[in-house]
């Protein structure tokens, strides 16, 4: 129910009826008595007296009635007024209605008689106010319709219809001027329109069109609405607006249409202002609901209403001071003080009571205007104006730091909540630093669970934004803990997701897989989506990223464990199946899949490899079809070409060339960002293009095409820092060899320029170009070849060393490149030494010394970390060989340990040549006298022996064999050598067979040792191995020393071991000499050969051997002469 105390209207009408002067029992006296009874609150007596007077004047038989009949209407009017004031509206309505239903009351003569008594009733006579009674009929129905909360009278909305009917009739009378002067003086039309506006809004089916019509009419009326009517009407509009949000705009329209009525003076502001805040708050909720419902117009109307009502809400301190002034002035004055500006009146007591209220509000720090600012900020935030929202909270913090809110537990400080909100808004407007500082001021204990969670979640978001992943990972654990009760919460999902993301950023690949697969196993995204709180877009973003992180983690781990490749590809397949239409990460995942299939290649098994390649081609085709203009498209086309040119099927290779050409075009279309792919594709084309004929093409055309790729590379794809430029230098140089000297010189100059450019680029960017070493080494070879080709003579060693020492454009501080050049110089020296070794042993030995000096100079000039892995391994290996030649164990230990520092440098740095470095280190450890190091050496060799690469496994097994031989563990040495044999390793096979023979012999397995040596012995042309094998056989036979057995004549003669020892040598020496290999031997070979010859001489001098040989010769002679005979 809503109270409708249209007091002003009542007052006006009632006032007119009040003062009457009459005699006892005559009309005037009766009227006076009625008034007195009303004053004494004797309503029933007053009514009874009215009825008595009515009966008296209405009796058709009474003479008195005939004389005083004109008084009767007046008492009906009075009766209605009394009932109305007593809130007996049905009775009031009937009393007023009588004036209209009784025809005699319409008699003008009767009315004239009543009006003629001017000295009565305050100069108005006994005016029955026929038209005014129509108003009161309407108003009685209106009151019945709305009810009265204070009087506990329930409203009956069905009464609005008759109220409207009577009110509109009265308005028509009023506007036509057919009302009394008194009524005209009250300027009622605006008020009547306002009441009709309310009635039309409040009736069971509101009629907004009619309401709008009366709103406009009320606006055009000049007089301000009576105070209670304005306030009560506004309350009506508020109620309707809240119940019918689509018409929420009525509130502000009413206020703006009647500005004078709502321009509240200080007292009215104090009296009514506080009533506007709650409706304003409710209206702001309509804003929120409307925005969420997508009803922008409705939201705008609600927002206007919200601000309008907030604007009517008083400021506590300002009002309190104003009231204080009035209170002190009017203190004790009980008379009514009219406020003509506001259309109201008040007295001293009103001001005192209001002052106390506002004083209390101020002291309890519950300033209404602060809540208004808060509400306004909330509305702005809903609209997305974070700056306005932030401004609101800033004002709260600056002006109302102690603001409280009333709760069931009493006033509670809002400070922490407001600081918290301000922090969030600072973050939203780019003031991250301030947001963090403000959040630091928030007392967590004063925040609710929601706020605490938000703080943790914000912290997590901030840390992720800042890239502080280590801390973010910790906070994400807290977020998960705080939100785990509701697994549909987006924050729970975010917490789980950030854990994975953080692990990924921190390169904790195993954690990425564990946490990521945990998320997928728990179906975290599915659960949250089903819960309806997580948006599909957010779920897709997070799940695709999560899956991508897992895929990429497998990729990283696959470098050391190829089993991850399978898991990676499973992830790719699952990703594509789950998100067939995803376009953000799916291209990357496809690309990852293609790369991985290329890497896995079926694990080396032909069928599986073919399958992988077909799958990769399918991914390539799908990628190009789906995202032809994607940044990765040229890369994918290039991989597609790469697969085709490496296909087992020769027929597909030309297609591969054409595909690579497409990749070049697609990449160059992308401008600068595509250059790298174009360079890669051109590099492949220039490499493979020389071997694959296109349809209808001859060799010359193919060759020209391949060279054109090289030219195009330098013209369009080359750029500083491009990893293919150094690789292309070899093509450039090789191609120039087929041209002329000018072309060669030009190519050399270009090669020098590119090498220097890339060296300087690496220096400036603190990066290492892995191809620098191979390029310089290749350059060294080609330069030497070209020099010889175009100058007719070879470069001297001095020219070579000079060339590399003074290589143009290399910065003095670029130790990496300079060490490679130095190594190239050493390589040249080594090559010269090898040549010398064939001809001049002394010269070769001197060269070897020079090489040794150069190496040792390198170790002084360059720290291990200056050197590439390759050079570290070279230097280390040199040290190992040097140490191996030393007899002094202490010196050997020192050199071996020095070597280890170079190997460790490469191992700790990672990258290429790690296995080689480990091999070297294992060898160096094995050379030391330290048992622990020897054990470590064995362990390292064992680990390396498991490597799939025979180039690593072979030397490892050889190292194990040597180590066991050196430590006298011959049986283990033989086992290691056997593993080598069984693995079918070819690398260093003959060296290994020598070791195997030694191991077998020393472990007592003489027969097998002889068999191994015999194999080597039989390949006599390979003196490096046949000579030591021969020598070993001779020694083994000699040492076994089995005597001759059997009888020659019987045919069961078996020579003695010593004769066999001598004979093995003499056959070998004889055959080598016959083959004239002796003249071609290297000094090393010759040394080994000489050992055989020497041993042969020793054994030949043995008497027993000579005797047995003589016997043999004799026997053969006898046998020969018999045969002749």
């Amino acid at each position: 129910m809503i109270k409708y105390s249209t007091a002003a209207a009542v007052l006006t009408m009632a006032a007119l009826s009040a003062p009457m002067v009459c005699q006892a029992q005559d009309p005037a006296t009766a009227a006076k008595q009625v008034q007195a009874l009303v004053s004494q609150k004797k309503v029933a007596d007053a009514i009874a007296l009215c009825d008595k007077m009515i009966k008296t004047y209405s009796s058709s038989k009474s003479r008195l009635a005939a004389q005083f009949a004109h008084y009767e209407p007046y008492f009906h009017w009075q009766k209605g007024n009394i009932y109305f004031a007593a809130k007996q509206y049905e009775e009031a309505y009937n009393a007023f209605n009588t004036l209209h239903t009784e025809p005699r009351f319409q008699d003008q003569k009767l009315r004239n008689r009543a009006l003629a008594e001017k000295n009565m009733n305050n100069g108005n006579g006994f005016e029955p106010f026929l038209t005014a009674s129509k108003f009161y009929m309407a108003y009685s129905r209106f009151q019945q319709a709305t009810g009265d909360t204070k009087a506990k009278i329930a409203g009956d909305p069905s009464k609005f219809a008759p109220a409207i009917k009577d009110m509109e009739e009265y308005l028509a009378l009023y506007q036509s001027g057919k009302v009394s002067k008194m009524e005209k003086s009250q300027k009622m039309d605006g008020k009547l329109c306002f009441m009709l506006l309310q009635a039309y809004l409040l009736k069971p089916e509101p009629d907004f069109k009619k309401a709008a019509e009366y709103l406009e009419k009320s606006r055009t009326a000049k007089a301000a609405l009576p105070d209670d009517m304005a306030m009560g009407g506004l309350a009506t509009i508020l109620k309707v607006a809240i119940e019918n949000p689509e018409h929420v705009g009525w509130v502000y329209k009413v206020v703006r249409s009647n500005p004078q009525s709502f321009a509240l003076g200080p007292v009215r502001l104090a009296r009514y202002g506080t009533q506007f805040f709650n409706p304003a708050l409710q209206s702001s909720k309509v804003v929120s609901a409307s925005l969420k419902a997508g009803k922008l117009e409705q939201a705008n109307e609600a927002a206007k209403t919200t601000y309008e009502l907030l604007g009517l809400t008083p400021e506590v301190e300002e009002t309190r001071r104003e009231l204080y002034g009035m209170y002190t002035q009017l203190k004790g004055y009980k008379g009514a003080v009219p406020d003509p500006a506001a259309g109201a009146s008040y007295n001293g007591n009103d001001c005192a009571a209001l002052f106390k209220n506002y004083d209390k509000l101020g002291k309890s720090k519950t300033q209404l205007e602060a809540y208004c600012i808060l509400t306004g900020a909330g509305v702005a935030q809903q609209y997305g104006s974070m700056r306005m929202a932030k401004a609101g909270y800033q004002i709260l913090l600056d002006r109302y730091p102690g603001l409280n809110q009333n709760t069931k537990e009493g006033p509670q400080s809002m400070k922490d909540k407001n600081i918290f909100q301000l922090a969030q808004l600072c973050r939203a407007t780019g003031e991250e630093e301030r947001a963090v500082a403000l959040e630091g001021k928030v007392d967590m204990g004063k925040m609710g669970e929601g706020g605490k969670n938000t703080l943790i979640i914000n912290k997590m978001a901030r840390l992720t934004k800042e890239g502080n992943w280590a801390e973010a990972a910790n906070v994400a654990v807290e977020v998960v803990k705080a939100t785990q009760e509701d697994k549909t919460s987006p924050n729970y999902v975010a917490g789980r997701f950030v854990q994975v993301a953080a692990a990924y950023k921190l390169q904790k690949w195993e954690d990425v897989i564990r946490l990521g697969e945990g998320i997928l196993a728990d179906d975290v995204f599915g659960v949250a989506l089903n819960g309806g709180k997580l948006k599909e877009a957010a779920a897709t973003t997070q799940e695709t990223q999560c899956r991508y992180f897992i895929i990429d983690a497998h990729q990283r781990l696959s470098r050391n464990d190829e089993t991850h490749l399978d898991k990676l590809l499973e992830g790719v397949t699952a990703f594509i199946a789950k998100f067939p239409n995803e376009s953000t990460l799916q291209p990357t995942v496809y690309y990852q899949g293609i790369n991985t299939l290329l890497q896995r290649q079926g694990g080396g098994k032909p069928e599986a490899m073919a399958k992988d390649m077909e799958q990769a081609l399918a991914y390539c085709a799908a990628f190009v079809e789906k995202w032809p203009k994607h940044d990765l498209a040229p890369q994918v086309i290039m991989l597609n070409g790469n697969i085709l040119i490496n296909s087992e099927d020769e027929a597909r290779k030309p297609e591969g060339i054409l595909t690579l050409q497409n990749a070049v075009e697609a990449a160059l279309e992308q401008g600068e960002k595509g250059k790298n792919v174009a360079a890669n594709a051109l590099y492949m084309l220039s490499s493979y293009g020389r071997e694959i004929l296109l349809e209808g093409e001859n060799d010359a055309a193919m060759d020209a095409r391949a060279k054109a790729y090289v030219d195009r590379y330098w013209a369009e794809a080359d750029f500083e820092g491009c990893v293919y430029s150094l690789k292309m230098v070899s093509h450039l140089l090789n191609d120039s060899l087929e041209k002329d000297k000018a072309a060669f010189d030009s190519a050399v100059a270009k090669a020098q320029e590119v090498i220097a450019r890339e060296a300087n680029y690496g220096l400036a960017n603190n990066s290492v170009n892995e191809d620098m070493e191979a390029t310089i080494n290749g350059y060294a070879t080609t330069y030497a070849d070209g020099y010889k080709q175009f100058n007719g003579e070879e470069l001297t060693l001095e020219q070579k060393t000079e060339h590399f020492k003074n290589f143009p454009g290399i910065a003095a501080e670029d130790k990496y490149t300079r060490s490679i050049l130095r190594m190239a110089m050493l390589t040249a020296m080594s090559q010269a030494q090898v040549k010398l070794a064939k001809t001049d042993k002394d010269a070769a030995a001197r060269m070897q010394d020079d090489i040794g000096k150069a190496f040792r100079e390198m170790t002084r000039e360059f720290q291990p970390n200056d050197l590439s892995n390759f050079i570290c391994v070279q230097v280390g290996n040199y040290e190992v060989e040097y140490a191996r030649r030393l007899n002094n164990q202490a010196m050997r230990d020192e050199e071996a340990n020095a070597a280890i520092t170079y190997f460790d440098q490469a191992i700790s740095r990672g990258g290429e040549y790690i296995a080689e470095a480990k091999l070297g280190k294992a060898g160096a450890l094995g050379l030391t006298s330290d048992k622990a190091k020897q054990a470590e050496s064995a362990q390292m060799f064992e680990e390396l022996a498991a490597n799939r690469d025979p180039n690593i496994a072979g030397p490892a097994l050889m190292g194990i064999t040597k180590l066991h031989l050196a430590t006298g563990n011959y049986a283990e040495a033989a086992k290691a050598a056997k593993r080598y044999e069984d693995a079918g390793i070819r690398v260093g096979r003959k060296d290994m067979q020598l070791l195997y023979g030694e191991a077998l012999a020393r472990s007592g397995d003489l027969e097998n040792a002889l068999a191994v040596y015999t194999n080597l012995y039989q390949d006599m042309g390979n003196v490096a191995y046949s000579a030591p094998a021969c020598k070993a056989l001779m020694d083994l036979y000699w040492q076994r020393n089995n005597p001759a057995t059997g009888d020659r004549l019987q045919g069961n003669f078996k020579s003695s071991d010593r004769w066999r020892a001598w004979n093995t040598g003499q056959v070998y020496v004889s055959k080598i000499r016959q083959s004239k290999l002796e003249t071609k031997m290297t000094p090393d070979d010759r040394d080994k050969w000489n050992e055989v010859v020497t041993t042969l001489g020793q054994y030949a001098a043995d008497a027993a051997v000579q005797r047995e040989d003589k016997e043999g010769q004799d026997f053969r002679k006898q046998v020969g002469s018999r045969k002749k005979k």
């Binding site: 009632a14 004055y333 500006a341 208004c372 700056r387 306005m388």
Partner: protein
């Protein structure tokens, strides 16, 4: 018993009017007066004031002018004259030109009553400040605040209002930034800062914003704020927004102007115009990817146009790019 109250108040109202009619025929202001505890309250016509607290009325009994001190009376309460009511109504209706004229007339007509509590001349002078600020007539504001009569007779609250008006006028008529900042700081640091109401606080924020924004070349505001002026622009935006939020819906002319200026600065922030120029219908993705300043500029423009009834070509254009991110939320 409501019945009695309704009749009683009604009678009193009429009685009040009838009593007031007679003195009103004399020249002067009606005051409700009670001399002491023993006397009854009544009304008289005050002819003038004579300095602080002293008034003169015509005593019909002695037919002479009598001078009294208001503060020595048990009750002295000046009633609002009709012309003041009209001026206040014009101000409430937002007819600021008419209000300015009427307020000036009231101030002049009743200047002889300055010194008495609740005198209409002082109230008119105070409301003139509001009116000038709402009209953004800062030259008038400067004049009115600078020539405010008898500021030493004002309450602390009203003194601060005059001081705030002076600062606002100074800031908006080329006053030195440093001076404005110092004066604002003094007013807000003062213990009486709580006596500054929301409107006046908004004036001070507007003043600070104005002098801050003045450091940014106009061509940058029309174009793009340079890197070197970004911090200044951000500060000005935040201050203008505070000026907009301070009054929480009351007398919105200056707050709306402040928000309009904040919007213009936001629109000039780097990347905002460029993002707007991308064209196409706005959707959640585009809105989410937009720079924060773009989103704020557009949201503010939308609110200015659709809630506060402000508008210019730039605001209209920006408001068209608005996207309701709340739609569909629960």
């Amino acid at each position: 018993m409501k019945l009695r109250n309704i009749f009683a108040v009604g009678l009193a109202a009429l009685a009040g009017l009838s009593q007031a009619q007679e003195p009103a025929k004399q020249q002067g202001l009606v005051a409700i007066v009670q001399v002491n505890e023993k006397s009854k309250p009544g009304k008289l016509v005050v002819k003038s004031a004579s300095g602080k607290d002293t008034f003169v009325y015509y005593d019909r009994g002695t037919e002479q002018d009598v001078q009294r001190n208001a503060s020595k009376m048990k009750l002295f309460f000046l009633q609002t004259p009709e012309d003041m009511v009209e001026a206040e109504h014009a101000l409430a209706a937002g007819d600021l030109d008419q209000a300015a004229t009427k307020l000036a007339a009231v101030k002049d007509k009743y200047k002889g009553y300055l010194g008495l509590d609740r005198n209409p001349a002082e109230r008119a002078a105070l409301l003139e400040l509001d009116c000038a600020a709402r009209r953004k007539d800062f030259e008038s504001l400067k004049r009115l605040a600078g020539t405010f009569p008898h500021t030493d007779w004002l309450s602390d609250q009203d003194k601060r209002k005059v001081m705030s008006a002076r600062v606002l006028a100074k800031a908006c008529t080329g006053g030195a930034a440093a001076e404005v900042e110092t004066e604002v700081k003094t007013l807000l640091e003062d213990k009486g800062a709580a006596m500054i109401n929301g409107n006046c606080y908004g004036w001070l924020q507007y003043a600070l914003a104005h002098v801050t924004a003045a450091a940014i070349p106009a061509e940058e505001i029309a174009g793009t704020i340079s890197e070197g002026n970004l911090a200044t622009a951000n500060k000005a935006i935040d201050l203008y927004c505070q000026a907009g939020a301070s009054s929480h819906g009351r007398e919105m002319e200056l707050p709306v102007d402040a928000m309009t200026r904040a919007q213009a600065l936001l629109w000039a922030m780097p990347g905002v115009k460029e993002y707007a120029a991308k064209g196409g219908a706005m959707d959640a993705g585009k809105w989410g990817a937009a720079p924060a300043n773009f989103r704020d500029a557009v949201a503010l423009a939308y609110m200015l146009k659709n809630i506060f009834g402000a508008g210019n070509e730039a605001i209209d254009a920006a408001a068209k790019l608005y996207f309701n991110t709340q739609a569909g939320k629960e």
